[in-house]
Amino acid sequence: MPMTITEKILAAHAGVEAVKPGELINVRVDLALGNDITAPVAIREFERIGVETVWDRERVVLVPDHFVPNKDIKSAEQAKALREFARKHRLTNYFEVGRMGIEHCLLPEQGLVAPGDIIIGADSHTCTYGGLGAFSTGMGSTDLAAAMALGETWLKVPESIKFVFKGELQPWVSGKDLILYTIGDIGVDGALYQAMEFTGPVIEAMDMDGRLTICNMAVEAGAKNGIIAPDEITRRYVEGRAKRDYTFYNSDEGATYAQVIEYDADKIEPQVAFPHLPSNTRPVSQAGEVSLDQVVIGSCTNGRMEDLRVAAGLLKGRKVNDNLRLIVIPGTQDIYLQAMQEGLVEIFIKAGAAFSTPTCGPCLGGYMGILAPGERCLATTNRNFVGRMGHPESEVYLANPAVAAASAVLGRIAHPREVA
């Protein structure tokens, strides 16, 4: 029976020949992930199960990244709970401040996730690793606790929607714009409980950073996972990086899809998601005059090397607008170091930006850039819900790093070509 890439990975981990949408299956997981918000609850639940230790101390990964470096005393207590659990169970993949990064930037970079894997994480953006050809999905803390004990989880096999991106990417258009455009088209529940499989010549030509960004926001359409078939670009990325053996899966000819949706990339320009839903998108040329108080470049969506390069390219020799703060947050320590070596940090600082240690911080309204009532922020992050970055009367606009950099210079939502 022909299967999709998602179905093949699930079947292999369930130890069966084939699976089909709607089936409830028990699967082996390759990695289970938690952060400083979700893991404290998972640890509490784990301790009620009655097992002595975790199923595999190399495959339970804890990354304090949301409110870390600790933003207050309570956050410090949460981070401490992770640290103590990691020590007690001798976890090999606990990442301390100074070595950590934003989890979904860190895990691919460190080779902890690989093509063909099943990864579950108590963080909704765990779906990022689909960019590598893995099945990865976000769950809650209790599901994480069960997986930490058993090395297994239960899943309902999702139907798949196939997205085919034809044509060519236009100037200043990136993976972020393709996923915002898609969510704008199908809605925030357009792929509810389903797998989003991204295909076509535009995806095949896209670098790994762009692919990770696309899959990262699959959850914003309600999807269980986003996935891109691994290829030579994937092989180059994982070679010398992956800590385990990996398997490349591909969808069969004749696999069944709930829908096939085609987009013409020639017609897609940089997108901006207006408040208060990621689906509320417009092409940047139709954004109108929207003045801004803050711009944030970073997050698990757009805190990678290519994102910083694009933003720095536009900010070089320019100044951040007098009426606005620009905050730039690299995804990991390695990205930070690379950005220094390439001279990007100097460009950001000379432009008048704040440059931070890696953290999720402002994306979820934690710290490092909280908004006052009435303030407007354009961010390369993933959600613009009411109150997402601070006061419920503040506003968040989502866009790619080039739009963010151009907007930081002009003090309003701007097309990158206006400053390039």
């Binding site: 409110f67 209790t142 004990a149």
Partner: protein
């Protein structure tokens, strides 16, 4: 088991930031979380909600983050159950895992108005709008999920499995 209470009506796409804003996620204490439940969707909700009341919402309730703090906050506030046209995927799992009762029913979501008195027969999934004299049927819960509920949540279910394998 039967539930009866007043309905608090919300719209579509109620996200987990609306259910419990991240600014309160530096704790996972249910009592603390309950003080801020639904605050950004309705600032008066945490003060005025009464034990046994129901949350009724349109499609995609609980979209966004994976934070289990969302169903935990709702449960700790004394809300008896959530009825929605549809639920976001992670919220749906989380609710079952922690033992918050949820019912999927587009008809109930459309028919119930804010302040209506509503009764729910938990076992059959029959929802009765006592104010309007209407009844609606919730989507059946898959058998595996029923096992989780019967065990008293996922952890009890897993603990039992671990014990039996020992």
């Amino acid at each position: 088991m039967k539930i009866e209470g007043k309905a608090w009506k919300f719209g579509a796409d109620i996200d987990t930031d609306a259910i419990i804003p991240a600014r309160y996620l530096n704790t996972s204490d249910p009592v603390e979380l309950a003080k801020h439940v639904m605050e950004d969707a309705d600032p008066g909700f945490p003060e005025r909600v009464k034990p046994g009341d129901l949350i009724v919402a349109d499609k995609n309730f609980g979209c966004g983050s994976s934070r289990e703090h969302a169903p935990i906050a709702i449960k700790a506030a004394g809300v008896s159950c959530v009825v929605a046209a549809t639920f976001a995927r992670i919220f749906y799992r989380n609710a079952f895992n922690i033992g918050l009762l949820i019912f999927e029913s587009p008809e109930a979501a459309a028919g119930i108005a804010d302040g209506d008195q509503v009764a729910v027969d938990v076992d059959s999934g029959t929802i009765t709008n006592l104010t309007k004299g209407e009844t609606y049927q919730a989507t059946a819960v898959p058998p595996f999920m029923q096992q989780i509920i019967a065990a008293g949540g996922l952890i009890n279910y897993v603990a039992e499995r671990v014990k039996n394998n020992a």
